[in-house]
Amino acid sequence: MRHELALRIGPVAFRIGSAWRSPLDALARLYAGYPAPEDGLCDFTVRLEPERPWRRFIRPSVAIRGDYILPDAAPLSLAHGLLAAEMGMNLQMALGQRTWLLLHAATVEKDGRAIVMTGESGAGKSTLAALLGERGWRLMGDEFALLDIGSGALLPFPRAISLKNGAIGVMEAEVEAGRFGPRLAGTPKGDIRHLRPNAEAIARMDEGAKPALILFPRFGEAAAVRGVGQAEVFMRLTQASTNYVALGRRGFDALTDLVRNVPALAIDYPDTETAVGLIADFRRELAA
């Protein structure tokens, strides 16, 4: 391909090829300080290419392709090329990851104990993880949690955090400007701005942690905490995993172990600060 870039994020290495230079330039700036894959060897290939040959020049539109492809994917405008690259990497993980059990969840860690936060988009887990990552927790990932099947440990996958709409302002007030990508206005998901995790999250991207708590956060309700039964946790985590079924028996063993050994809570929260406070309380209880 005309332009290419290789990136390692935690245990996974990507090569991203592009027909245009600008998406990879933006990607390289956003991931400044990340290691290159050893010997250039990569797990997944992402391709950003024109839908039709002439669309490289005329009203350029970026089709997201790679090792694994979904039909029905609509192209993005070249101005949103960075988002296309990010979605391309997510797509490879969602469809092609077969080594670890993949959960659509944000993970933060403190003192070797990890909190896994999962829920539908809009539940606020990205914002919550981003904020905790600046308040004394280590951000392990805002999008995918990787559960190691043999050890039951969670592996970091600290991609750039994808902040949407209101969350952008929340984090801009918290973090220096140099860690942000460009503001992408008017994407199919509204305004998006990516945030590079802090130096500690990147430096410790090879260091796993034991899961200590599973949280199902829900944004926009009065503060409330309730326990969640194991069967419900199991059901919800299978729905949060794109590769549970494909992992067969190994996935079953890993997920039933996780559900039986790790407590789970559902929390409602009216604003992010309240949730940060609740999570600090949980941490004290877990440590006690």
Binding site: I64, L70, P71, D72, A73, A74, P75, L76, E86, M87, N90, L91, A94, L95, H104, T118, G119, E120, S121, E143, F144, S162, P188, K189, Q230, M235, T238, Q239, A240, S241, T242, Y244, V245, A246, R260, N261
Partner: protein
């Protein structure tokens, strides 16, 4: 509940009432591959109504495809519906721009009848919780 003592979990130590349940009830749920939660992060999708295989067909109120010009049926949409529009249409019934509410219902029903292999299905599946 103890997590390890599985083998005896359903062997009661005293006589227990076992309810068979109504015919319409369901006691088996099978885990299916799930893409729904991650869809927002992996996919910017569109659904053509109808799919290219049935281009030109009109869409009856129940979502089935009928001959062009059938009375009471909605004409094909000139542009595919974006994922967000479909989500809003299916969840809250809000109509996409430039579409009247009767046609929107027909389009919604067409989308609900999509099956794997048809144009737009992965988009539809990604907007739903797994069946």
């Amino acid at each position: 509940m103890s997590g390890t003592d599985d083998s005896n979990a359903f062997v009661p130590s005293r006589r227990t009432v076992l309810v068979l349940g109504a015919a319409a009830a369901s006691t088996v749920v099978t885990v299916r591959p799930a893409l729904a939660q991650t869809a927002g992060s992996v996919l910017n999708c569109e659904i053509p109504v109808p799919g290219p295989q049935a281009g030109g067909s009109y869409i009856a109120p129940d979502g089935s495809l009928v001959a062009p010009g059938t009375p009471g049926a909605a004409p094909p949409l000139a542009r595919p519906l974006r994922g967000e529009e479909v989500k809003n249409l299916l969840r809250s019934g809000s109509t996409p721009a430039g579409v009247d509410s009767a046609s929107a219902q027909a389009y919604a029903n067409y989308i609900r009848r999509l099956q794997a292999g048809m144009s737009g299905f992965t988009c539809y599946a990604s907007l739903q919780m797994p069946r």
